[in-house]
């Protein structure tokens, strides 16, 4: 029972980090129509940006917003210089996916060329450890969960009540119609790249804080988890991504407690496949 509760707690923590990344990824996909597999590489770039700040003797919590800004800029640049030209030429979606895969490798290996093949850690304290039943979480881990909750609420409020959020939803639903209604879709798309890039930087930094030791290839598998969470929730659905992240996060950790741990992601994907067999469009996707 203790290990079960512990694994549920760890699952919530994994879900918290995953949810930030998954919401960023799915919003990006929904509005820009780019399935950007380089998202996790941008997370890595964010984590190392914060690391660079941290190495100067500055708190990683100060490095975090810097990483968000850097990743927002990187994300916008990625669209302007790479994806948008391909889209203008009418490249098929699968072509863009392959291009994004290439960009992921370029960013990942570029980071590795700069920082080397070693793993690094932030200089920071994990704070006090809190134990409740089987749950074991540190102050920093609780802070990560809190950040994730704030991001989720902010995403909800933005999409629901702000002009930008409504424009994003309209652009996502029908870009041509949105443009005809006077929405400056180009600006919305650029803003979306910036916002989701910032979410990538945030996700990358809290991910690196969470795992304790990270390297240029640390997000290799994480992008698969992001995809799983997004498709479990229903691609393009921010709330679905949150729910998907929660299920994937808890499923991986609980399965690690009771089966061979190296199969924990296999179990998570069995859950995903079973869910998609019942609801092919995802948990919150439109019924077919």
């Amino acid at each position: 029972m203790t290990i079960f509760l512990a694994s549920v707690g760890f699952g919530l923590l994994t879900a918290a980090v995953l949810a930030i990344a998954a919401v960023g990824f799915t919003l990006q996909f929904a509005v820009t129509n780019v399935l950007n597999l380089a998202f996790a590489a941008i997370m890595t770039a964010g984590a190392f940006t914060a690391y660079g700040i941290n190495q100067l003797g500055v708190s990683v919590w100060v490095g975090l917003p810097v990483a968000m800004v850097a990743c927002a800029a990187l994300s916008v640049a990625l669209n302007l210089l790479v994806y948008a030209p391909f889209q203008r030429r009418g490249s098929a979606p699968i072509t863009i996916v392959i291009v994004s895969l290439g960009m992921a490798l370029i960013i990942e290996f570029g980071t590795q060329a700069v920082v080397g093949g070693i793993s690094v850690s932030y200089k920071m304290s994990q704070g006090h450890t809190y134990k409740l039943g089987g749950l074991v979480l540190t102050t920093v881990q609780l802070a990560i969960i809190a950040i994730s909750v704030v991001v989720m609420v902010a995403a909800y409020l933005t999409l629901r009540y702000t002009k930008l959020g409504k424009s994003m939803r309209a652009t996502s639903a029908n870009r041509q119609l949105a443009r005809n209604c006077g929405i400056r879709t180009g600006r919305v798309i650029t803003t979306t790249w910036a916002l989701t890039g910032a979410l990538g930087g945030l996700a990358g930094t809290v991910y690196a804080i969470d795992i304790g030791s990270f390297g240029p290839t640390s997000t290799d598998l994480f992008v698969v988890l992001i995809l799983a969470a997004v498709f479990l929730g229903g691609p393009g659905h921010a709330y679905g991504a949150m729910l998907g992240a929660l299920l994937i996060g808890v499923a991986t950790e609980v399965s690690a407690a009771y089966i061979v741990p190296s199969y924990k992601y296999v179990i998570a994907f069995v859950v995903l496949l079973a869910m998609l067999a019942v609801r092919p469009t995802g948990l919150l996707g439109a019924r077919t």
């Binding site: 203790t2 290990i3 512990a6 694994s7 760890f10 923590l13 994994t14 980090v17 290996f109 590795q112 060329a113 080397g116 093949g117 070693i118 793993s119 690094v120 850690s121 994990q126 450890t129 074991v136 540190t138 991910y207 969470d210 795992i211 304790g212 030791s213 990270f214 390297g215 240029p216 290839t217 640390s218 290799d220 598998l221 994480f222 988890l225 950790e253 609980v254 690690a256 407690a257 061979v260 741990p261 190296s262 924990k264 992601y265």
Partner: protein, 450 residues
């Protein structure tokens, strides 16, 4: 629409035929290039051209620290060889092939290496991650390889061109068990990566631990690409082990140590690592994750006995120091760690053996120089012991037979070209300097072997 589609398809079919022809042409060209590349192994290196040693190892992926470690050795050794006049008038240079630590990536990487590299005389590296996949390919190319793999399949599978100066993994499992015995531990947790190279330790470790009268209280397989190991760490902490035996390279071990420390009330559980943990990258990662002092106070690893003084050690360290700060990917941590890193030491010896063999044979034709590897390594009656390439060249020029004894100690090749050494116990200081804290005798290893 359908008719248009069909018409379009016919055009596409025609175009695709053209592409197929182009693709077939490209494959044929690649095969021709590969054949050209392979000619160097059998015919020797033309005068005026350089001899090439290739570092085939992971330069990216979880084991990305291994390739640069070997490259330090390659660049340092070849620089020393060139400084001593080269090999039969040829300069020696190093090239690399990134296997990413994955057989699927290693095969095309080695294929490309063999196709593009003229005058390839020696391959070094080939770790357990990829050795099983690439060794047959390199062997069929008739290129000598010194591999850093402990995989047991090479104990009984013969490849003419395969050599290794490291012990089988099961011997390392026994050595780790002896360390646990020496330190008085009774309850052991196993935490090994899910890669081929790490998993080969598990079964021998389990049997050795049982034979030594100790107990395995937890056995966690770590997915090297996983994001965290919190649940695995919690299971280990709840099992209350006296020590953890582990090999999970990349960021995995560092993450695991960090999470165990956090879940264990800030206390690091003693760690027993493999010789792969003796590297600047490993120390840097682990020390950053749990604190240098905590890590140094709780870490032991088995390692092959290597010289720490004497002429062989002096020549070796001078060679490596000549490339300090110049090797991409190897600019982190305490550089002196390379002086005891198994890859750096034993591959240095392998490269010197190969270079001296060519000079002894008076040829860069592999068929002629390969037999000298064992005679120069193991020695023949009347041979003069030499401790460096330069010394070996001088003695060969004087018409003497030589036995090369480098910093890795004397070799003793068996019929499978394996030359396993003897073990010592290594620790780190908080500054990352490797120190020898004990020895492991052959009798101690036999006592726990299955």
């Amino acid at each position: 629409m359908l008719a248009e589609g069909r018409a379009g398809n016919s055009v596409m079919t025609f175009r695709r035929s053209g592409r197929w022809l182009a693709a077939i042409g490209a494959v044929a060209l690649a095969a021709t290039l590969a054949a050209c590349g392979s000619s160097s192994s059998s015919g020797g290196v033309p005068s005026g051209q350089s001899i090439v040693f290739a570092d085939v190892a992971p330069f990216s992926g979880p084991d990305a620290a291994l390739g640069p470690t070997y490259l330090v050795s390659c660049d340092g050794t070849t620089a020393a060889i060139n400084k001593a006049g080269g090999v039969l008038g040829h300069k020696v240079s190093c090239t690399t092939a990134d296997t990413r630590g994955d057989p699927a990536d290693a095969i095309p990487a080695v294929g490309s290496l063999l196709a593009r590299t003229h005058n390839l005389e020696l391959v070094i590296g080939c770790t357990s991650d990829e050795a099983a996949a690439v060794a047959p390919v390199i062997n069929s190319h008739k290129t000598v390889m010194f591999c850093m793999t402990g995989q047991s399949e090479f104990d009984h599978k013969h490849f003419d061109y395969f050599y290794r100066l490291v012990p089988p993994d099961l011997a390392e499992s026994y050595a780790m068990t002896v360390i646990a015995q020496q330190l008085g531990y009774k309850k052991i947790a196993l935490a090994f990566g899910n890669d081929i190279g790490s998993q080969t330790f598990v079964q021998p470790a389990e049997s050795a631990i049982a034979k030594a009268g100790m107990t395995v209280v937890a056995n966690e397989t770590l997915d090297l690409n996983a994001t965290t190991f919190r649940t695995e760490a919690e299971k280990i902490v709840q099992a209350h082990p006296d020590a953890i035996m582990t090999e999970a390279l990349g960021s995995a071990d560092a993450t695991l140590f960090s999470e165990i420390k956090q879940l264990n009330g800030g206390q690091v559980i003693p760690i027993i690592g493999t010789s792969a943990a003796i590297s600047p990258a490993f120390f840097t990662s682990a020390a950053a994750a749990v604190g240098a002092s905590d890590f140094a106070n709780n870490f032991h690893a088995d390692n092959l006995v290597t010289a720490t003084s004497g002429p062989a050690y002096q020549a070796f360290t001078q060679s490596l120091l000549a490339v300090k700060g110049k090797v991409s990917g190897a600019q982190t941590g305490d550089f002196s760690t390379y002086f005891t890193a198994p890859g750096a030491v034993h591959l240095y010896d392998g490269m010197n053996l190969a270079a001296l063999s060519m000079i002894a044979a008076g040829s860069t034709d592999v068929a002629k120089w390969k037999p000298f590897l064992t005679s120069i390594g193991d020695g023949v009656p009347g041979a003069v012991t030499v401790n460096s390439f330069a010394q070996g060249v001088a003695e060969l020029k004087a018409g003497k037979k030589i036995r090369y004894v480098g910093p890795g100690g004397p070799t003793s090749f068996d019929s499978f070209h394996d030359s396993p050494g003897i073990f010592q116990v290594d620790t780190y200081t908080a500054a990352g300097v490797v120190t020898v804290s004990g020895n492991i005798s052959a009798a101690q290893l036999r006592a726990v072997s299955g």
